[in-house]
């Protein structure tokens, strides 16, 4: 499929060692998964609003709320936070200031914790990753803690 994502909106940063290269046993809370920035344009905001048929009465310049995921998804892929075989289990989301057209949103990704549960002799591994978004003034936009069911090698 031809990729039409506007990569000029995005920068990605972080340590050379990616989370995906570290065994689950060695991952610890605070591990820096990197991050990136996303430039919010009126074009992308309008496109998203139309696509989602979001007719809510936003204050002028505020972007549709569903875009809060857009700021981080590509960065998660580029920083290889979505590991092959892992399953997204859930999200805890806290809303702060709204994102606005013209903002440069910085997303930082880090490990919040992990958990191992054995049920019926079956090991389940959960990994929790913080995805924190701030604007160019350092104001919080959203804090999202993503939880993943991780693959277990047999």
């Amino acid at each position: 499929m031809e990729q039409k994502f506007n990569t000029s909106l995005l920068t990605v940063f972080g340590p050379d060692r990616l989370m995906a290269e570290v065994p689950f046993e060695e991952l610890t809370p605070g591990f820096d998964c990197g991050g990136g920035t996303y430039k919010v344009t009126s074009e992308e905001s309008e496109k998203f609003s139309i696509l989602m048929n979001d007719t809510n009465p936003y204050e002028a310049g505020v972007v549709p709320v569903g875009m809060m995921y857009i700021f981080g998804l590509r960065i998660c892929w580029d920083r290889r936070v979505f590991i092959d075989g892992s399953i997204r289990a859930g999200d805890k989301i806290s809303f702060h200031k709204p994102a606005r057209i013209g903002d440069t949103i910085t997303t930082r990704l880090s490990i919040a914790g992990k958990k191992e549960v054995t049920k019926n002799d079956k090991l389940r591994r959960y990994l929790y990753i913080d995805m924190n978004a701030t604007n160019q003034n350092g104001e919080k936009i959203t804090d999202i803690q993503m939880s993943f069911l991780m693959p277990v090698k047999k």
Binding site: M1, Q3, K4, F5, T7, L10, E44, K47, F48, L51, M52, N53, D54, N56, P57, Y58, E59, V62, V63, P64, V65, G66, M68, Y69, I70, L73, R74, W77, F82, I87, R88, A89, G90, D91, K92, I93, S94, F95, H96, K97, P98, A99
Partner: protein, 141 residues
């Protein structure tokens, strides 16, 4: 219900639902906006042979979208009011052809630190059942 006074909110009230229709074209366009080109959402032919899904599935974040819009409409702000929180679990995928609709039911009201908060059980479901479940703490101005 929409844009109520906090005092008029009752336990058991339903917040006006929002629904979206999942189509392959929606998934394709969503990919172009977010830059997530995972084949599980986009490879129509390849995913027909997937042992579990037997076809493409929607982005989990799309299943949350009706809930987000419903809360924004309820608050009258679009973007959720500062302090609003969601705690959600992804239960099952939605697929092209599905309509996914939000359901938020008031289960509790609290006033904490001067903030009026409506706590709701929340789900986002297709015809087969819940794709997303959880709890929403919605700040009411």
């Amino acid at each position: 219900m929409s844009k109520p006074e906090f005092a008029s909110v009752r336990i058991g009230d339903e917040i006006s639902p929002v629904s979206i229709n999942i189509t392959q074209e929606l998934l394709n366009q969503y990919a172009d906006i977010c830059g997530d080109y995972n084949s599980i959402h986009l490879d129509v032919e390849g995913m027909k042979n997937h042992p579990i899904f037997k076809g493409t599935i929607a982005y989990g974040t799309l299943n949350v979208e009706p809930v987000l819009q419903s809360i924004g409409a309820f608050q009258g702000t679009g973007w959720p009011v500062e302090g609003t929180k969601l705690d959600l679990l992804f239960r099952a995928p939605a697929r092209p052809g599905d309509t996914v609709a939000s359901r938020l039911t008031v289960k509790e009201k609290r006033t904490i630190g001067g903030k009026n908060i409506v706590i709701c059980d929340m789900a986002s479901s297709n015809a087969a059942g819940a794709c997303v479940i959880g709890t929403a703490e919605i700040v009411v101005l």
